[in-house]
Symmetry: C2
Subunit: 218 residues, 2 copies
Amino acid sequence: MKVSVIKDILSANDEIALQNRQLLDKHGICVMNVMASPGGGKTSLILRTIDALRDRVRIAVVEGDIASTVDADRVAKKSVPVVQINTGGQCHLDAPMLRLALAKLPLADLDLVMIENVGNLICPVDFKLGENLNVMIASAPEGDDKPYKYPGIFIAVDAVVINKIDLLPYLRFDMPAFRKLILGMNPDVHIFEVSCETGQGTEDWAEWVAQQIQTKLK
Amino acid sequence: MKVSVIKDILSANDEIALQNRQLLDKHGICVMNVMASPGGGKTSLILRTIDALRDRVRIAVVEGDIASTVDADRVAKKSVPVVQINTGGQCHLDAPMLRLALAKLPLADLDLVMIENVGNLICPVDFKLGENLNVMIASAPEGDDKPYKYPGIFIAVDAVVINKIDLLPYLRFDMPAFRKLILGMNPDVHIFEVSCETGQGTEDWAEWVAQQIQTKLK
């Protein structure tokens, strides 16, 4: 008697993440999930990316926070479509939340959706949303030992953006050691050094994002 | 017919937290749960507190991290008892983890146990451990808008320690507005401004901890 084997069972979240992805692929939209600690600079990086790419890329933003619309209000001033998700206490976004947000965006008129996840280096990593790219921001003032303590996120991402490098003269932060540690854990990762405060390095970062949109979707 | 009403059902975690607390009370030990974002300065504050109080308070430390013993190694150099908990991915400590750690500490010879929770502003708030005091560190480089986005932790704590004030000259950070916002959410909270890097303000903080030990336990 033949035994039926069921493979690749998706969780409820993964199933909806796949549906999100199919919907986004249909519209030729690249989706980037931006993760970081609280205050790492997620909103600031998103704003810099909008400034750098808005003339050639049609952008929307999904803002995830436990509470408030502080970040969405900042994005809305850039006159790009933005949806705020308040998780009401939940420590990460999930695929059903993104599905609700996508329903409020003009998908036919977009090339890039940037998702600002909840400020947390741990939980967001475990929940697929339907994204093409996973990116984390490592804020220099947090110190150069974070990959030891939060290995999961450093391994999971396509790019690490080291932010607040304008503060490096006032910090004990060993950049070569930090880069080496990250690359040891994730040899294919792209690393950028930026200051969202001064703008330093953000053009190179935005160019990489533009290339990813081209490579993955066209 | 009389209806039986069962009140105050404790969750499994809360039940064990209560047992932890009873054990600690029996030994006259004050327990402080220290929470912060990744890189906020939890270990540095614990080290400063040890330096300030070690001549008059018998201290032990429980270190919580997803992975590594980096922080416990730093504490061990101070020659105080320290236990490292590796949560293996879990985003917070819970009461059963603390119970395991307490079993490895010389409880008869302690006045204060400082617990360094996992770096996360969200999940640790929901899990009682058996602590007397809840404390959070707000790192100045994270910005002055964090209470809007992570209200739960600012409301839950007995003290907010604003760390990295040595960097204030290089940041946009409105200290009076930040203090006012926190006090609006939590009028009884104690607020300290410190630099664990330079030591500024850490003596005042440690004095408050010493007072709490006296007030709550003697």
